[in-house]
Each structure stands twice: as C-alpha cells, then as structure tokens.
Amino acid sequence: MLSRSLAAKEIMKKLVFGILAPASALGLLAVSALAQQGDAGRGKKMFVDYSCYACHGFSGQNGPGRRLVPMKMANVAFTAYVRSPGTNQMPSYSAKVLTDAQLADIWAYIKTLPDSPEAKDIPLVQQLKAEAGK
C-alpha cells in the first residue's frame, strides 16, 4: 500500500511540476489509465508477496490453480474474478486486501509472463505423446 501511495504521489508531482501541469483534468485521466494498465514491476513483487505463485506457479501456469498465462482476461474482468472467483479452490480477495490498483499491477505483471511453446513445437513432448497414445 505504501509503495502504491508513493507512486501516485510521484505521478502527481510530475503533473504539478509541468509535464502535464496545464491540463489537470487530462492528468487525472492519465492516472486512471495508468491504474487500469497497471505497473508490472510492482505487480511482480505482489505476485510473490501475495502468494499468487503458490497456486499458479512462478510461471503463472504451473500449479493446481487456474492457468493464468496467457492472460486472456481484461483487467476489469480479472479484478472481478479475483473479487469473487466462484470456486471453492480459490479464495476471494476483497478491496481491503488488494485494491483495484494493486490488482491492476498484478494483472500487468501476469501479462508480461512468457507463454509456453505449443506442444507440437516441442519434440520431446511429441515423442511422449506418441508413446502415451499407443
């Protein structure tokens, strides 16, 4: 939470000191857009600190939890899902625990995680598949 507040202050400082100073209304829109877009750097830390990796893997795709990579949900849908997953496996996370902005950061980080190669492009997996399917 602290880092999030500082980041917001930093943005506001830039707004005040001339980068977008004349257009305060436009500046607020930029903040909102940034919040929606999320900050992957902060999200990376929260992905670990908030134990997202525990069920979804450090890769975002290895573990008992739902595969998160490639992230196919929009930020809004992702936030809604985390708020109310509708499954017994994943607990819900309220805004008290994770703000919308923090979830946007996590979402942004997940978007940066590399997808897996397709099974057809991995010779060893193809070999295993052929053996298993005999």
Binding site: G63, Y93, K96, K129, A132
Partner: protein, 632 residues
C-alpha cells in the same frame, strides 16, 4: 568412592555378581571423568542436597549423557551370548539388512551381528532412528520383504515413532527389535517399552527368556508379512543379549509362512457371475502386493475388458494398458473394489447406483486410537480377504463363464474404453508443455527430460509423487510393480529421503536405477541419510524438487489469510525456506555424495541427469539440485 563403585556395578545388569575387586577396579578407572562430571554438576548448583525437585542422575548417567562414559572393564568372559542365538533366528528369517543408530540397550546384539554373523545380515548405519525405520519402509516396498531395524530403549523408539506410524498407515512390514534394560540412564528404560508405539504396530511382545525371543521373532515376522501387513516390535532385554545361552542351546523355531486369506469359493463364483453379467463393470484397484498380483489383475481386466482405476498409490496396473484409466464413462453397474479406499491403499471406492463388491483386508486389522485409513468402502458385498490371494480363483471362475457372445460383447466395449484411455494419456502428455521453458523449472519438464534417459534401463521411482505433480505417472511407461512405490502412508514428512535410500538398497542387487524426486521440506527432516547412502554405496539418483518452502502450507496459510480478509503479504512467515536459500548440492557434498546444482535453466537438466545416471549405474548415490516451480 562408594557411590562410584555402586554406579559401576549398577551400570550393567550383567555385572551383577562380578567380583568385588573387579568392581573396585572399574570404579578406579572411571573416577577422573566422573569426578569432573560431579564437579560440573556442583558448579551448576543442581546437585547435592537441599535443592529439592527431581532426583539427580548419578555420575554414570551424566557420563552417558555428556558422552564421557567409557566401557567398564570386562571381568568375565561370555563366549556364547544369548544375542548369538538371536542372530541365528534373524538369519533363519532371511533378513538381509539391519538398520540402526547405535544404542547401548542392544549392544549385545550389535556385537553379535558384527562378530558372530560377520556382518551378514549387513548393518546399515543410520544417523537417526527415523531413518532406520523409514529405510526399512522403502526397502520392504521395493522387494516385498522386511528388513530389521534396531531401536535403543525409549529414546530410539521415540525417534522412530513417526516412521513406524507411516509404515503402519502404508501397511508395510517391518521387523523391529528394541533394547531395554540399559540402566545407565534411567530415562532410557521403561517398564513397558512397546506401549508408546502399541497403537500403530500390528503386534509387540517383550519375552522373558531367550527361547521366548526366538519364538517372538518368528511370530513377529509372520504377523508382519501376513496381509494386512504392518510393522511389529519385539522388545529384548539387554541381559538376555549379554548373558550366556542356556546349556542346551535353544533351537531356532520352525518357520512356516501362513498363506494369505482368500475369499471362499462360493463368494468367488458369485462375484464372477456379477462381473460377467454386468454391462459396465469397473475395477478400483487400491493395492496389489506382488508382480504376480499385478499380472493377475491384467488378466482379469483383459477377460472382462473393463477399466481399471488405480489409486495413484503404488503400482497396481500398467499405466499404459488399454484398460488403465476411467474408460469411456457411463454409470458402472458393478464395481469390484480391491483393497481400495480405506484398506491401506489408494484407489476409488464404490459409486452410487451400481453394486459394489469389496475384497479387502481392511477389516482384518482393528486399528486402535488412530483411525489411520479412515473408514473403508461400504460394499454391497464385502469379503474380508486378500485380493491377490483371491484373484486366481476369480479369474478361473470368470473364464468358465465366458462364451463367444460374451467375448464379442466385451471386446466391443473394450475398444471404446481403450480409445478413451488412449486419448486421456495423450492429453496428459501434451500438458507437459505448460511452462516448458519456465525458470524455476516445471516438474513436468523434469519428468520429461528424465524419461528418455531411463526408459531402456531397469528403473524404479522410489519416492512419493504426490508433491511432484504425478508427472512420472503421466509421462512414463509404468508396468512393473517396482516402477512406483507410493507415498508416505500416514503423510508424515521425513519419509521420502530415507525410504528412497532403503528402496535403492533393495534395488541395488538387481542393478536397478532408483530415482528419487526429493522434496526440500522432507529432505531437511534428517539429512544424515545422505551419508548413509554414500557410506554404504547405495546407488540412487536424487533430484531435488527445491521449491524453497513447505509449499502446501504456503497455500493453506494464504487461503486462511484471505478467508479472514487480512491480506497475504505475511504468508511466507513460517512457510518458506529462504533467506538463506539452502544449497542442497553443497549439503550432499558434505555427506560425501556427488552432486550438481542448483539448476535453474531447464536446458541444463538433461546433461546433468545424464551425468548423474552414469554415476548411479556405477554404484554411486547422486544428488542434483533443481530449483522448481512450487507444484506440478
């Protein structure tokens, strides 16, 4: 001085009756150490009168505990000790290995094993009693017979308790002997030594005579090996070990193994009728004991062309057999449940709707205090018998009922099941691509990279799979009873490493490559097992599943925090093994084992595994540390 003399004489029961002069001499020899111990005690203010509280240990006890004790001078010769006879019995049982952490309550037996039987059975030196028993656990699962574990009075049994509990939960035979009557340290003896583990051994006994020890060992072995199998404990007094045999040396009792209980013929015939007349029969295979049992199960499935679902706990059925899996679906009208559910094995139990026929030994072992396997499957028909002992008769009866029409019908349904199972296996293999290039490394990648290197070898997966995503089961061709040995039994950590070494010990004489996917949490319970593997040249490829935490608990704590709406940023406290990270390659090296790692790039896996396997094939234990994704 008088106290010292008393201590010296009282230190061992066998010194009773020794000449007074010898006792005085012994006291003189140990005086400097005891005096020092007394002085230290006095200096701490904890000795002497007027302090109140618990009685103070005497000098000998303190010497034992602080490691300054020396053996008292021998004042008599016993050339035919009772422990030699115990070794005769142990050899008659075909025991090949004896594992222990040394303890003075069984020093007589220890000495006989070294000098009377000439280390045959071979002594396996362990750094912890939990390792000694867990080794025996893994050994029995790999070769189907027990080894012997020796336990020191009270403290050794207490150290071993967790491993005994696991073996009990896993229905695994282990013969244990605990020494009792070493009076040097009062805390190391007990009136009823077996009491503390009585709730999770099948039988225990404390004979009063040497002949009784022989009879007890024979009975213990038979009970351990008769389904439902379980650990057994014989408590042997130090005096019986150290004292002389009677003039008429006791005979080794006759040893005949009982046959396992099988179902009665009338029941078998009815079960055969039910199976042959069923439209969609299923087999839930929780446990078979031997390769023969597994082959018989294949024969039955081939006859009936019905799906066989294993429980993921040990091998029950070849995982690439056309009938392996859940098949083409549809409601089962007859389910044959073999040692499944609460019978000590895995496997699914009955299902609603269909007729469930249970053949299980679960009801032949009343568990006390610990309802260790939960409640068994509720069958419409329940036969308290060993499935494997029943299968030959069942196959014969099914064969008698087969007609050409039935055979054609069964083949048609078998094709549908086979295709569904084949598709399920292919899908499972394809899933290995997920996170293929990830760092930390995915558990699927580890299994995938290992398989080409071992598939043409004789191999055995000796560690639990449950924390490693069951990828070996999903990707490897498992068709031998020793291709997978199953889990902990009672879920106690600290099993994986020593049980893997025990299984590798059993596999050694077959030149079989033993593979252990070793979880980091488990490794840290008693890492001294690495030294045991190195010291005894036990070939084993251990690959660290190093996710740097007690990962299951990370998930549960995170979940609890979320439910309480408190956030999760503290979930790592008490659950992660970081800061500092543990260097398992260095740990293995310290114990004298070849090691590599930590590996974080999946591209480095195959070359490291190849080097490791080459060394294992030459008879070495190897550790390769891989930093992994938390779960599969």
């Amino acid at each position: 001085m008088a106290k010292l003399k008393n201590t010296s004489v009282g230190r061992r029961g066998f010194l009773k009756g020794a000449a007074a002069g010898a006792a005085v001499s012994a006291a003189t020899l140990v005086t400097p150490q005891l005096t020092e111990a007394q002085q230290q005690g006095a200096g701490r203010g904890g000795r002497g009168g007027g302090q109140g509280g618990a009685p103070q240990p005497d000098g000998s006890a303190i010497a034992r505990e602080d490691g300054t004790a020396r053996p008292a001078p021998v004042s008599r010769i016993v050339e035919n000790p009772g422990s030699d006879y115990m070794c005769d019995v142990i050899k008659a049982l075909g025991i090949e290995y004896v594992s222990f952490n040394p303890g003075s309550s069984f020093e007589g037996l220890h000495e006989s094993l070294i000098n009377y039987t000439k280390n045959n059975p071979e002594i396996i030196t362990c750094t912890h009693e939990e390792n000694a028993v867990a080794m025996a656990h893994g050994y029995a699962k790999a070769c189907g017979k027990p080894m012997l574990a020796l336990l020191h009075g009270t403290i050794g049994v207490q150290h071993a308790a967790m491993a005994i509990y696991n073996a009990y939960g896993d229905r695994v035979p282990i013969v244990m002997i605990a020494g009792v009557g070493d009076t040097a340290v009062p805390a190391h003896t007990a009136v009823d030594l077996g009491a503390m583990v009585r709730d999770f051994v099948k039988w225990d006994h404390q004979p009063d005579t040497l002949t009784g020890v022989g009879q007890a060992l024979i009975r213990a072995y038979k009970l351990a090996m008769t389904p439902p199998m379980a650990p057994v404990l014989v408590t042997v007094q130090a005096e019986l070990q150290m004292g002389a045999m009677p003039a008429n040396r006791p005979q080794v009792p006759k040893f005949t193994m009982p046959s396992a209980p099988s179902a009665d013929l009338a029941s078998v015939r009815q079960i055969a009728k039910d199976l042959v007349n069923a439209t969609n029969p299923r087999i839930a295979a929780g446990r078979v004991r031997t390769q023969e049992g597994m082959d018989q199960l294949v024969q039955l499935a081939d006859l009936l062309q019905c799906p066989v679902a294993g429980g993921g706990d040990r091998m029950t059925f070849p995982n690439r057999h056309p009938m392996a899996g859940n098949g083409a679906g549809g409601a089962a009208d007859v389910i044959l449940s073999l040692e499944a559910g609460g019978g000590g094995g895995g496997g699914r139990g009955g299902a609603a709707g269909g007729k469930t026929i249970v053949i299980s030994t679960a009801e032949l072992l009343a568990t006390h205090n610990y309802n260790i396997n939960g409640n068994g499957v509720n069958g419409d028909v329940y036969i308290a018998a060993d499935p494997e002992a029943t299968l030959p008769a069942l196959i014969e009866e099914v064969q008698k009922l087969m007609t050409p029409d039935k055979k054609r019908l069964f083949e048609d349904r078998g094709k549908k099941h086979a295709e569904a199972n084949r598709a399920a296996r292919a899908t499972a293999a394809e899933a290995a691509s997920v996170g293929w290039n990830a760092s930390p490394v995915s558990l699927a990648r580890i299994a995938a990279e290992l398989w080409p290197l071992i598939k043409n070898e004789d191999w055995s997966y000796v560690s639990p799979q449950n924390f490693a995503g069951n990828w070996a089961n999903r990707l490897w061709d498992m068709k031998k009873i020793y291709h997978y040995l199953g889990g902990q039994g009672a879920g106690g950590m600290g099993y994986g490493a020593p049980a893997s070494v025990g299984a590798a010990l059993a596999n050694r004489k077959n030149g079989r490559i033993s593979i252990n996917i070793q979880t980091d949490g488990d490794m840290n319970y008693s890492p001294g097992i690495l030294w045991t593997a190195a010291h005894h040249r036990i070939p084993l490829l251990s690959i660290m599943h190093n996710n740097r935490g007690y990962h299951q608990e990370v998930m549960f704590i995170a979940r609890a925090a979320s439910i309480r709406n408190r956030g999760q940023e503290n979930s790592h406290i008490g659950t992660r093994l970081i800061d500092p990270n543990i260097d398992y390659a260095m740990m293995a090296k310290a114990y004298g084992m070849y090691s590599e790692g930590p590996i974080t790039d999946p591209k480095d896996l195959a070359p490291a595994f190849k080097r490791g396997i080459e060394r294992v094939k030459k008879g070495e234990p190897v550790m390769i540390d891989v930093v992994t994704q938390p779960r599969g």
